[in-house]
């Protein structure tokens, strides 16, 4: 029997960053993404599409993705969806259980090994189309902000966005409607960062599908009437950037919380928002659109 030397230890490249890892490694040595994604891809023999959910800290990425996955698992719309690996169910379980207890889920830590990753197989069950493998990571907004400010500081984000087949970009519509320019500036920076990744020439526009989702639209219901008009009016910098540099952008409005309460105590100097009940609006539509674009 041939002896195995150190030089011939079997390795497998990470699906996200392509760094070589041993078969026993659970987290990539380079980007700390779970190697379970790579093993799943190897088992399925089908290249997955990465759909990245991006947005500022506290915009609602975890809640949105959790509810979306739960809806898919319950055959919402026209979709059949199958989670590949138990880890793919962790996020939706966390979100649903917290919201059922009238609390928002915990903050997503900046450490990559603490992010939730979902690997789902999805298809349109009415036309029995081919199963599409999707990977949807739940990133921390602060890590995204740090990567935008200093590219390559969080290499996994650079790899993810570079490999994404589509993006769902969440924007805080409530803040924007209140006159804050913060959501507009963050989205502009994010789009500019994506522009540099794809390095399109000045007369070319990037054709990666981007769904811009106006979250917390319960604060400003007019979003639902005409999301595009809302972006043009309240997120003008983002609108202009999309027009100039991106070919395939669609705007959506979304809301998860039906009504919010606020709790505080005499001893504390902060207010805790309490989701009294959920009323999902516009959660599935962005996903339907982006799957059609893949």
């Amino acid at each position: 029997m041939p002896r195995t030397s150190l030089n011939t230890i079997a390795t497998i490249p990470c699906l996200i960053c392509e760094a070589k890892n041993s078969l026993k490694t659970a987290l990539c040595n380079n980007c700390h993404a779970p190697m379970a994604l790579t093993h799943q891809y190897a088992a399925q023999q089908q290249e997955p599409c990465i759909v990245s959910i991006v947005g500022e800290s506290n915009v609602g990425k975890t809640v949105y993705l959790g509810f979306l996955l739960d809806m898919l698992a319950q055959r919402a719309g026209k979709f059949d969806a199958v989670p590949k690996g138990a880890y793919s169910v962790d996020l939706q379980q966390t979100v649903i259980s917290h919201m059922a207890s009238r609390t928002f889920p915990p903050k997503t830590a900046m450490e990559v090994d603490q992010w939730h990753w979902a690997y789902y197989q999805v298809r349109n069950r009415f036309d029995k189309s081919k199963w599409v493998d999707l990977i949807m990571p739940d990133m921390a907004g602060e890590s995204l902000a740090a990567e935008i400010a200093t590219p390559q500081s969080f290499r996994v984000i650079n790899s993810l966005l570079g490999k994404s087949a589509g993006l769902l970009m969440l924007v805080d519509a409530g803040l924007a409607a209140n006159g804050s320019s913060r959501p507009d500036f963050f989205t502009l920076k994010l789009l500019s960062y994506i522009d540099t990744i794809y390095a399109a020439k000045q007369d070319q526009r990037i054709d990666m599908p981007i769904g811009i989702i106006l979250c917390k639209s319960d604060y400003c219901p007019e979003c639902f009437d005409n999301p595009q008009q809302f972006v043009k009016a309240n997120l003008n910098r983002t609108w202009n950037m999309c027009e100039n540099r991106f070919k395939n952008v669609q705007f959506f409005a979304c809301s998860v919380v039906g009504s919010l309460g606020y709790a505080t105590s005499e001893k504390e100097d902060y207010v805790v928002p309490i989701p009294l009940h959920t009323a999902l609006q516009g959660v599935l539509e962005p996903f339907e659109w982006i799957v059609k674009q893949l």
């Binding site: 490694t25 800290s57 900046m110 200093t150 913060r182």
Partner: protein
Amino acid sequence: MDRQAALADQLDGAAPRGAGKVAKVTIDQAIFTSTRSATGEGYSLAGASAGISGGEKTELTQRSPSHDSLSNTSETAVALSSYRLSTTGRYCVVHSKYAGAEQSARGRRIYSHMVLLDQGHYGQFDNNPVVVHAALVAAVGDLPILKAPARLEPLVLQATDCGSDHWITERPKLQQYNASLVGNILQVLLNRQRLIVLGVREALGLLEWTFLALPVRLAQDVSTTIGLKFSPSRPVQLTFTDQMNSRIRRAIMGQQIEILDTQASHPASETPLSRWVDLIGQWRSRGRFAEISTLTSRMSDKIQATDLQRIAVICGDMDSIRQAKPCTLRNLINKYSAATASSEVESQLTEQLITRAHQQIDSQLTNAADLPPNDQ
């Protein structure tokens, strides 16, 4: 103290640091926590002094603890992390703790105050992150600075000379050290391996002990955390944490990381580096910090466990010279004259031992000659 000074002189040729001397060191500082500002909210470097470069800020952001990173959920929990920045080589020591609720009300805020030291300044704290951490905590106090200005002033820390009584009383108290545990930790660090130590209650004291017993050139490259959850985003060589859990198991799969569970019973075996650990323990309990510092600073970073054991034997024999009888002294001289040293430190120690032994023999003969005839 005179004897310590004499030995230190013999070891190094340089004068030891003066007793009771306190130096004020001005160093760069930064704060990493979750705040809300006009341009954004969440965990970021809330403030930093001007001397911290862009590359250093990036690395600090990558390695600093964010949401739910402390392993102890108590309100008064603190954490320490220490590492060398790959960008500039400066030493970063971080003090982390809870600071009320995070502004989005999703959990508690983690507040990290860190200082950056160059090699010279780090040496003034005995190359020991626990000592830096203690000075940092003394300097910044209990109240976190949640509305820190973007530009912080450099921080002044107090570095107390390790030869003074003040220093000895200020060190974290470790009344009883577990020699076996220290030996095991040292063995792994000397082999340049990574180690997770589970279930240690007096981790700060144990870490201080470990750094005291490490060769300085090796200690300077040891990164460590106490009180933080293990994360591959914070790659450190030595981690102290509470207990094994699924998160740690997952993170270390396929990695070359040793685990030392202090709560699990181990079969009785010889303590590695027992002689070296015992020597350091004896010198530490007698306040001979300057000698420890001088000895460990002379060692190469390539030193092995067997070298430390031999050096411990030599130092132990050197300590016994004063009380030894002439025949014992002659045996020592014969033994070490025939021995072959495996390192320069060992060679110098051997020479000094032989010299001291001869001096002691001469001194004893002189004393005997001076006695009245009836007393001889």
